[in-house]
Symmetry: C2
Subunit: 479 residues, 2 copies
């Protein structure tokens, strides 16, 4: 691929002349990531044209710069789960009160956030109808109907849809919104072994989305009993960490539901010996939150920084008019360059807008996180992706703090660290830690117990209770 054609130059921070251009909207960021992270984040998602705030609090408009990333992630994930024999379904948005309440722990977990439809037109409905916060209770009555024999297993459903959780705490674009997009997989197996295996297969796909596509380092691990999915048997997750705020953020979850829902919804099958058994179930999901985690991880004071693999545009070509050079010739040369890039499978475009100076255009595309230099080739982009990941990983790892005592724990928490601590694994102790750390910033809790466990020497005690420690777990505040 040729480089430096058509007036090239520019690049991150590149200038450009601003003469003879009258009306240009103001570009650039008012807030700095390290000074005011919250305002910086709002500004970057809006200015990069990913998000528009909507007139209902907690709801956001996803613009093409976000949706194109979502589509790229979807394309990868959908192809991978189809290899695992997942089939596409679409279940209704609505669920009756009666069905929603069937699994007790489950409804207790979701009840406060459920949105209820009570009217249509000017009439009251006979009974209120819930909007799905997740679809276990929507789907499982039909699993009961469809699954008769071991030949109907495994059953593997996936749907891409919207869900609604009417939360009142701190709505944040992508990270915590009242409506969001996700995929939810729901599967049923004859044996626990098959279910256990799938939980980890899916978790690995989630790791790949974060690490390979979004260049965000995550830890795979298991959630504590307090933090697991309401009504499930155990929950695994990928956990990311935001150094600027010192908060963990749950990236995606892969749950083994065990036989709890099978019992409540009577999902049984005739096994090969002719008697009836209950199925083993999983459910798993990742959401548009993943885009927000990526923005928080890589963005800088000039705006968004996009990993090349998910950048809707990987290269932008900007013609720079020179004195005494025919502009048409320059533009034609740029077009050829874009065509060459596109043929090589690179997402490239040309910014020929008039009335914007090259300098304004550079800043605009920098704000949107596109690598600007047209001489960048596929190899450079792969390196760029790797560098983004390595940088993010170094920053995350620099926040890691291993603590052994309560005083060390409190110091690390105040210092916004990602805390790894030996724990006795007792729910009462986790509750106690929550109670003792309550405050304006929110209480500390377990993020996950990482699958990669450091040595735990005989005699190690829990940082909080002083009892014998059973495992190392990540602790911290989270989103």
């Amino acid at each position: 691929m040729s480089s430096g054609k058509g007036g090239g130059g520019g690049g991150k921070g590149g200038g450009g002349k601003k003469k003879e251009v009258k009306k240009e909207t103001k570009l650039g960021m008012a807030y700095k990531k390290d000074d005011n992270f919250g305002e910086w984040y709002s500004e970057v998602v809006v200015n990069s044209e990913m998000i528009e705030y909507y007139d209902i609090s907690g709801c956001y408009i996803l613009r093409p710069w976000a949706m194109e990333i979502w589509e790229l992630l979807k394309e990868f994930f959908d192809a991978e789960i189809k290899k695992l024999k997942l089939k596409p379904y679409y279940f209704p948005l609505f669920v009756t009160e009666n069905v929603l309440q069937k699994e007790k722990d489950h409804i207790e977990g979701f009840a406060p956030e459920v949105a209820w439809v009570t009217k249509s037109g000017k009439s009251d409905l006979e009974a209120p109808i819930a909007i799905r916060p997740t679809s276990e209770t929507v789907m499982y009555p039909y699993f009961s109907k469809w699954i008769r024999s071991h030949r109907d297993l495994p059953l593997r459903c996936n749907q891409w849809c919207n869900v609604v959780r009417w939360e009142f705490s701190n709505p944040t674009p992508f990270i915590r919104s009242r409506e969001f997009l996700w995929q939810e997989g729901h599967t049923a197996f004859a044996t626990k072994e098959e279910a256990d295996e799938e939980v980890l297969q899916i978790l690995e796909l989630y790791r790949r989305i974060y690490e390979e596509f979004l260049a965000v380092p995550v830890s795979k691990g298991r959630k504590s009993e307090m933090e697991k999915f309401a009504g499930g048997l155990y929950t695994t997750s990928v956990e990311a960490f935001i150094p600027n705020t010192g908060r963990g953020v749950q990236g995606a979850t892969s749950h083994c539901l065990g036989q709890n829902f099978a019992k409540m919804f009577d999902i049984t099958f005739e096994n090969d010996k002719g008697s009836r058994s209950m199925v083993w179930q999983n459910s798993w999901a990742y959401t548009t939150r993943s885009i927000g985690v990526m923005v928080m991880t890589h963005g800088d004071d000039k705006g968004l920084v996009l990993p090349p693999r998910v950048a809707p545009l990987q290269v932008i070509v900007i013609p720079v008019p020179y004195k005494d050079v025919d502009t048409t010739a320059i533009v034609n040369e740029c077009k050829k360059t874009v065509e060459t890039l596109e043929k090589a499978g690179i997402r490239a475009d040309l910014d020929t807008r008039e009335n914007y100076s090259p300098g304004w255009k550079y800043s605009h595309w920098e704000m949107k996180g596109v690598p600007l230099r047209i001489e960048i080739g596929p190899k450079d982009m792969a390196n760029n992706q790797k560098n983004l990941f390595e940088t993010a990983k170094q920053k995350r790892d620099a926040c890691l703090k291993v603590v052994n005592t309560w005083d060390e724990f409190i110091a690390a928490l105040n210092d916004k660290k990602l805390i790894l601590a030996p724990w006795c694994d007792e729910e009462e102790v986790e509750k106690d830690v929550k109670a003792r750390t309550k405050g304006d910033l929110g209480a500390a809790k377990t993020l996950c117990t990482p699958f990669e466990q450091p040595d735990l020497p005989e005699g190690t005690t829990c940082f909080a209770s002083g009892k014998p420690a059973k495992k190392w777990s990540f602790w911290g505040r989270s989103y």
Copy 2:
């Protein structure tokens, strides 16, 4: 491609031995298409495993056999509109009462069907919030914000999402459901000419979905003033016809909204002369209804019949064990055939389920509409697609009745014909026809005024009013 391998045979109506198989669920259809169309339709969408009825009336579960068709249509349509520079968006599910009511004709059209959220958890919301029945009012306040100058035009948004219309009349799977899936395109232009052009570009894509993919013949035309989109300037549509019930069915609509919404939502731009103009807007959509129209058109008394182009499986290979022949060898041969087909880009699979006889399998896949014979090659499938379309077209055309008088009109209506009649194009007359044809089966109305107009000799009078006729229009009962 080799033919007749691995025990081939079978095909539409093919038998198969049923020995030594004990428990098989009953297959086959209880109702006949010509005798009881309504029951037949419900049965075919359920037995083919496209639809599961849900415990909320008017909501349905879309199973893989429907969703895979939806995905194939989406793949085609999405690629085509991306060529037209449409960008993906996702706007919220919810809209405030205040904004929803901004365009008066529009809200009058949709108000009776709007579902309202009034509670979250146990708390009442401050004000009820509507679930989108369509997204004009959700989107256009932001169009007003995003569009400043002629350089921001055209603006072209598309979203794939669910919408809710809480209708009370005859819910029917795919055809009339309270929640359905669709794409909705919303565009804004500087000139009416550009808007007009796009209306027809999109209508042509809708025609292709119906005729080329679903093998369903449709008429392109323009809706009457009474039947046009609430709040729009004019509506074009593709209209299909179901010979069995003698009803028209609106296949998809492409609306020019004119400047009505631009006025209400203040969507203006600075034109190249420095003064402000209102934009011209379109909106257009097609829904999962398209799948229902396909089922109604092609299905027969043995079940679903799928046009090859949208069949999730185009070929099913069924091993038939023979005396003294090693079953493993037969199955291996079948596998090779499937691999060969898949390499040729054909969606093929092998049914190796044990405990089902070849005969049961043939009936099962026939019910689901898959062409069974493994010797079918790509050419046969293209012919099959063409034959389905030609057959459907002949049946539709056989229902066409040109009428000139009221008596002929009533006779044709009772005879369940697709009626083409000369009309004076007066709204009062359409209202009068509706009033005079009211009854159990519903009133007759205009379907569309086809773009392809027969000659209208000087002196032709309206079939209903006797006034001079202005055009030929399709009339009938509709879904």
